[in-house]
């Protein structure tokens, strides 16, 4: 479907619940979560354990896995995953050089 020509025709704001309904919110991010595999409990136990980052992500950007995977297309960089990680496996890294 061509986004430049097709109009929704709705008189009200309306969408089907779906991934990315509000756009690729990853653009909003200033800090990027980076997961250090060797610290992640799931990797260390080679099982789908812990997964607290998945449970707490408010934007449903994290998939359960060994280790959990983060969809940076939608991650807004809120840092909740880094806060809740019991083994400090997730660090928040500035997206642009020079930012704190």
């Amino acid at each position: 479907m061509n986004a430049s020509t097709k109009d929704c025709g709705h008189e009200i704001a309306m969408a089907k619940p779906s991934a990315g309904e509000a756009g690729t919110t990853g653009e909003w991010r200033t800090l990027r979560p980076e997961l250090e595999r060797s610290r992640c409990l799931a990797v260390r136990q080679d099982d789908v354990v812990c997964q607290l980052c998945w449970a707490y992500c408010p934007d449903v950007c994290i998939q359960q896995a060994i280790p959990p995977t983060i969809n940076l297309g939608y991650c807004k960089g809120c840092g909740i995953c880094a806060e809740v990680c019991p083994s400090d496996a997730i660090g928040m890294v500035p997206e642009a050089p020079g930012e704190p």
Binding site: D7, E11, I12, A13, P17
Partner: protein
């Protein structure tokens, strides 16, 4: 009963009767004076089985309108009523109902806003939500309350807009007068079945009123969707279409029931009038008595009643008032620090007219302050004298104000 029946009833009973005849399916309301008898009457009928509707008791006006919004979103015909601080309390949802383009019909028994606390009539409450994107209609007597509430459903369904039916608290809400009640069959023929934009269906879920940023943006399926400003422009266009739809509905109503109310505005002794008195609601009826008395004094006076306040009937106002000598606008509300709201809008509508009359504003009846014909006569005579003395503008006149002049 095959024929219309005339009963003596209050304005509140007329509003409730219209909601019953419209076959409302969901009523949600919180009691507030002077509206309470509207929903008390409806709750009585629901309890009796005379009205097949869900009556939802809520803990606040905010929830009352929220319930109506939810019910309208699944396609139900809804009704609520409120006044003053109740309307203020539901303010957030007033905007939501409009932006979600839901055909909600709400009656407002006009009452003064607190503080200080006051349960009596003025029109400050509904004026304070004039910009929210609802159609606002003002009634002058109890028959018009019944008829306008029925018309409101047809207007709401035609345009996907909520409609606020305003009538003066106590002066109409608690005053009895003869009202002709149409038959259910005729009302059924007049009112189409309701259909909201969209009908929410659990099997085909929708997110309605989701985050909508400044610019148009493709949705998850790649279809370009409006930005916030496009949706607001469409909303505004719907209000502008109401300038045609309100008179059309009044005219279809007249064809069915034999009564019409003027559409956007109404006129009394206006044809040759040099002085025109403007007001919304029951005050307009009192001004007809004033105009007739002034004509006996030799002042050619008429009345222009505002029935539709939003959308504002600028063209009708220009057509009715262009070329007159003097227009006096009586507001039962004020935009504090400026002037009466109807006065401002009338001035603005006339500003591009080279034959614009002089417009003086007056504020009257705040918090139930009595407005007598004698006071109105004196106010018009004074305005006429000021006009004859060459005055082109003057401060808003406060009718029957009892402040002592300070030394």
């Amino acid at each position: 009963m095959s024929d219309a029946m005339t009963s003596v009833m209050t304005g509140n009973e007329a509003a409730a009767t219209a909601a019953r005849l419209a076959r409302v399916q969901v009523v949600a309301a919180y009691p507030i004076t002077p509206q309470s008898p509207v929903v008390e009457t409806l709750s009585h009928w629901v309890e009796q089985g005379a009205l097949l509707a869900e009556f939802v008791r809520v803990e606040s006006e905010h929830s009352a309108l929220s319930v109506c919004i939810a019910a309208a979103s699944v396609g139900a015909r809804v009704f609520t009523a409120t006044s003053a601080n109740g309307l203020a309390y539901m303010n957030e949802q007033v905007w939501w109902a409009a932006g979600a383009r839901l055909p909600v019909v709400m009656c407002c028994a006009n009452r003064a806003m607190a503080a200080p606390w006051n349960v009596l009539n003025d029109q400050q409450d509904s004026m304070s939500v004039r910009d929210a994107g609802w159609v606002q209609l003002y009634c002058r007597d109890n028959q018009e309350i019944l008829d306008t509430t029925l018309q409101a459903y047809r207007i709401a369904n035609t345009l996907n807009l909520p409609v606020l039916v305003c009538y003066d608290g106590f002066l109409l809400s608690h005053t009895v007068m003869p009202v002709t009640v149409p038959t259910q069959t005729k009302v059924d023929g007049f009112l189409p079945s309701t259909q909201a934009l969209p009908i929410i269906d659990p099997n085909d879920p929708r997110n309605v009123g989701q985050v909508t940023l400044a610019d148009p943006r493709p949705n998850a399926e790649g279809v370009l969707c409006h930005g916030y400003m496009e949706l607001r422009a469409l909303h505004h266009q719907a209000l502008e279409r109401a300038l045609q739809v309100i008179p059309e509905v009044d005219s279809v109503f007249a064809g069915t029931f034999g009564r019409h109310w003027g559409g956007l505005t109404w006129k009394h002794l206006l044809d040759d009038a040099e002085i025109v008195l403007v007001a919304a609601g029951s005050l307009g009826m009192e001004l007809t008595v004033v105009a007739e008395a002034l004509r006996r004094e030799g002042l050619r006076t008429g009345v222009l009643g505002i029935r539709a306040y939003r959308p504002f009937p600028g063209d009708a106002i220009r057509a009715a008032l262009g070329g007159r000598r003097l227009v006096i606008v009586f507001d039962k509300a004020i935009s504090y620090g400026h002037e009466g709201p109807i006065c401002s809008d009338v001035r603005a509508a006339l500003s591009v007219d080279t034959a614009a009359p002089i417009v003086f504003g007056a504020v009257a009846g705040l918090g139930g302050r009595e407005i007598t014909v004698e006071q109105l006569l004196a106010a018009v005579r004074k305005a006429h004298a000021d006009c004859c003395a060459g005055m082109r503008r003057r401060p808003t006149e406060w009718i029957n104000l009892k402040l002592q002049a300070t030394a």
